[in-house]
Amino acid sequence: MGRALGVLIWLITLGSVLLFASGKWWFPATISEHGPEIDRQFMRTIIVVGISFVAAQVALGWAVWKYRATPGDTTRAVYSHGNNRLEIIWTVVTAVVFISLAVIGQRVWAQLHFVGAPAGSYQVEVVAQQFQWNFHYAGVDGQFGRTDPSLIGSSNLIGLDPADPKSRDDAVLATLVLPVNRPVELTLRSIDVTHSFWVPPLRFKQDLVPGMAIHVHFTPTKTGQYELACAELCGQFHYRMRGYVIILPQDEHNALMALPPDQFQTRVGQLRQQYPIVY
């Protein structure tokens, strides 16, 4: 029984390591400036996790293999209540390793969240609702029109105020179009329940909380069309609250931004067909 359990624990350990190391399943390739650092921190962490996991399971398997009671053996186990020096060693070692990991991991977090978006960032306002994404573009004047929840309806999804001159050239679309290699600042809002903005290749996720305008920033580094998912349970059709993010070369993006709202919308429709979805 002891040997069988020991071997089983080792096999489970081996199987788990192979599953992680197979290369068949992993993150989608990253498309943001901070993404590679997140991937590196993930690798650093998963190596510590892997070593600890393998060491603990191999030791456990070894102990149950080696120290099983055998029939007829009347000798006793080793009488020991522990070893204070060992306790201190493993406490200090794990404390140093774990807390160092936590500290190292803060760098990329600080870069994203402790400083505001750099000047000249491209801005889009995101307004989520059950179960769709609305992206509010400032238009050629670069200024967002006023919004008011009491104006929201099926033909005015974010409650844009038509009386505000700044709103005339604004566009509201279901697709997020961003320029490549330029910092992007999103202002995230929700009109009903909590949603979450999640684009796996961007390595970015942020909740959209009703009553709050949350400002976030990142820099996309690769053109293409990507899927956007909602990552916070928002109700019945949460699973199909899907959106798309198109990242364009800067010149193409500039040309798009110069278009009036109706042409802007048509052009984005064309881009959706033009760029295959990367996954």
Partner: protein
């Protein structure tokens, strides 16, 4: 610490005669303990069936399951599970499992039965309060079951609809759809936010509030009993680690449940009384402008919920740690390695457990600076967890292991606790939470560590104490088959979920394909894993029939058990099997040594009961001498 005197006569009560006072409204902690266990064994059936239904929908979305169509004509029309039906399964699976399984059996069940006996008391400090805490919890369970029927059945739903919009049921689901975390505004807005959010959600809050009260009463009782009712010689540092675990758990419950209770009341007021604790102004839901609420904060609920919710994770797992330590030492035939370190580590986990709730909220919109503090505190909690693991393996080093069923499950606990706990290093980091938050990686992590490991702790405890409770042994062969299938099964279910999370698969999605088309292409690579996990889940769920069969069959047909079938050392093994009404038949036991005196050199047996006097065993170096230090160190 000096020996603690108690008066054995002060609160002795005679065994009751009537059936009702003996088995239903019993004041006997042993009966109440078994009642909690049966409640958990009932609730876990709901939880497991719901998880299998969820797996079926994920693997085969759109498939017709005729029996579901008959039971839930609205929620599963023609037997096809609707997304809202799936989400109500998510909610109720989580609620049943976290509250009525993981929080009842380990503490209210085994703790109730064995804490008084292990410290040499004749009952809990407040037997009436103890009875109340079970029956209050049971009412909470009934209200939760009512939430299933009030939403699932239109006739029952109609009974309550007269109470107002907040009690509109009959949506065809089996409860609310917001998950066990019940984040507002989804949970606060009522029926308008989605099916199941009317009566189902109201009853869910009432059920949890009642549960909080029951848990609070229980926690008070555990703490008082342990501090005041230890028998002669039972110093704190001579208590079995199980008692330390139940004590720490009770302290956590005492501090955590009131916060959830308060949060629940505020949420209920938001729904019914027009308050706005969690609902901001300017909400537009289903094209309706909500004008009756203003100024609330959805994030406030998350803080209140997780201030409870994170300690709750330790409330679920600590009793399993206690049982595992106890059982490992017993069947390793070796003293526990580092008893003091184990006690401090347990308290360390409990204490730190109150300062890490924010790691559930890194991307919630909370301050990124506090996120950083929460992250570093969270990774610190890995240190006491690692100490426990090292000490368990240290206990096995140089052992003479007896591979009984409880020992197999205890060893399984150690393996699963490591596998599940270690990924906390990933999820506790702010930056890594950006890709990992709310993916299947999180599901894998917490199911392994607080779900499956805790359940293994319960299986270990049940097979270990069954002979003491019921006078018969559980069947060893069935127990072993149950262990092998379950151990391989749970790893097959939850290991691949890590990979699904890395791929980016979000949790709480009712389906990943519709009409044969995948909804998100980035999830496509996970498809074979999804199917594999479902198969593993079905096999593992079916294997649990072995446990239920063994439990009931052994009650009547199990081999008769002696007073100390495992050759163990603590007080429950010094009394009759099953124990008499007042536990020690009027004798107040006296304790002379620590709880894990196995393999003492020179002693006649390889185990020494805590009640054996020094004169009865050969005096040995490092042995104990009644001064409260238990030969620890070196």
């Amino acid at each position: 610490m000096s020996a603690h005197e108690i008066s054995g006569e002060a609160h002795r009560h005679e065994p009751p005669k009537s059936f009702i006072r003996k088995y239903i409204f019993s004041l006997d902690h042993k009966v109440i303990g078994i009642q909690y266990m049966l409640l958990a064994m009932t609730s876990v059936l709901f939880g497991v069936v719901m998880s299998v239904l969820m797996r079926m929908n994920l693997s085969w979305p759109g498939t017709k399951w005729p029996i579901l169509g008959t039971l839930f004509p609205t929620g599963a029309p023609e037997g096809v599970m609707s997304p809202e039906f799936y989400l109500s399964l998510v909610t109720m699976h989580g609620t049943m499992m976290v509250f009525f399984v993981l929080t009842t059996a380990p503490q209210g069940g085994f703790g109730n039965y064995f804490l008084p006996i292990q410290i040499g008391a004749d009952d809990m400090a407040f037997p009436f309060l103890n009875m109340m805490s079970f029956w209050v919890t049971f009412v909470g369970f009934l209200v939760l079951v009512l939430a299933i029927f009030v939403e699932g059945n239109q006739t029952i739903g109609a009974w309550f609809s007269g109470l107002g919009d907040w009690m509109q049921g009959g949506s065809g689901t089996v409860g609310p759809i917001g998950g066990w975390t019940a984040y507002p505004p989804l949970s606060a807005l009522g029926k308008i936010a989605g099916p199941g959010q009317g009566a189902g959600m109201s009853l869910w809050i009432i059920s949890i509030a009642i549960f909080c009260v029951g848990s609070l009463l229980g926690a008070l009782n555990f703490i008082t009993t342990l501090l005041n009712m230890r028998t002669r010689g039972m110093s704190l540092m001579r208590m079995p680690l199980t008692c330390w675990a139940w004590f720490t758990t009770a302290v956590l419950a005492l501090l955590a449940f009131p916060v959830l209770l308060a949060g629940g009341i505020l949420l209920f007021l938001d729904r019914t009384a027009g308050t706005s604790f969690f609902i901001p102004g300017g909400e537009v839901v289903t094209d309706t402008l909500i004008t009756s609420h203003q100024g609330g904060s959805p994030i406030l609920w998350q803080h209140l919920f997780w201030f409870f919710g994170h300690p709750e994770v330790y409330i679920a797992i600590l009793p399993g740690m206690g049982a595992t330590s106890h059982i490992l030492s017993t069947f390793a035939r070796k003293p526990i390695f580092g008893y003091r370190a184990m006690v401090f580590a347990m308290f360390g986990i409990g204490l730190l457990g109150f300062f890490v709730w924010g790691h559930h909220m890194f991307i919630s919109g909370m301050s990124p600076y506090s996120a950083m503090a929460f992250s570093i505190l969270t990774l610190s909690i890995g240190v006491p967890s690692a100490i426990k693991t090292f000490n368990w393996i240290g206990t096995l080093w140089g052992a003479k292991i007896r591979f009984t069923v409880p020992m197999l499950f205890a060893l399984g606990f150690v393996s699963l606790f490591v596998s599940g706990g270690i990924t906390g290093l990933v999820l506790g980091q702010t930056s890594l939470d950006l890709p990992m938050h709310d993916t299947y990686f999180v599901l894998a992590h917490f199911h392994l560590v607080m779900g499956v490991a805790a359940i293994f702790g319960m299986f270990a405890a049940m097979s270990f104490w069954y002979p003491k409770m019921f006078g018969r042994m559980m069947n060893e062969t069935i127990g072993k088959i149950h262990f092998w299938i379950t151990f391989i099964g749970v790893y097959s279910i939850f290991m691949p979920m890590h990979i699904m999370g890395i791929i980016g698969m979000p949790r709480r999605y009712a389906q990943f394909a519709e009409n044969g088309q995948s909804i998100y292409h980035f999830i496509d690579p996970a498809d074979p894993l999804v199917k594999f996990v479902t198969a593993a889940a079905i096999v593992t769920a079916l294997a649990q029939v072995l446990f239920y069969f063994n439990f009931f069959w052994s009650l009547f047909k199990g081999k008769k058990a002696g007073d100390n079938p495992w050759e163990a050392t603590t007080l429950e093994w010094t009394t009759a099997t099953p124990p008499p009404h007042d536990n020690f038949a009027g004798v107040v036991p006296t304790v002379y040594r620590g709880p894990y005196e196995f393999a003492v050199p020179g002693a006649p047996n390889d185990f020494i009961l805590q009640t054996e006097r020094d004169a009865e065993v050969a005096e040995v170096d490092g042995g104990t001498s009644g001064n409260g230090s238990d030969g620890h160190g070196h």
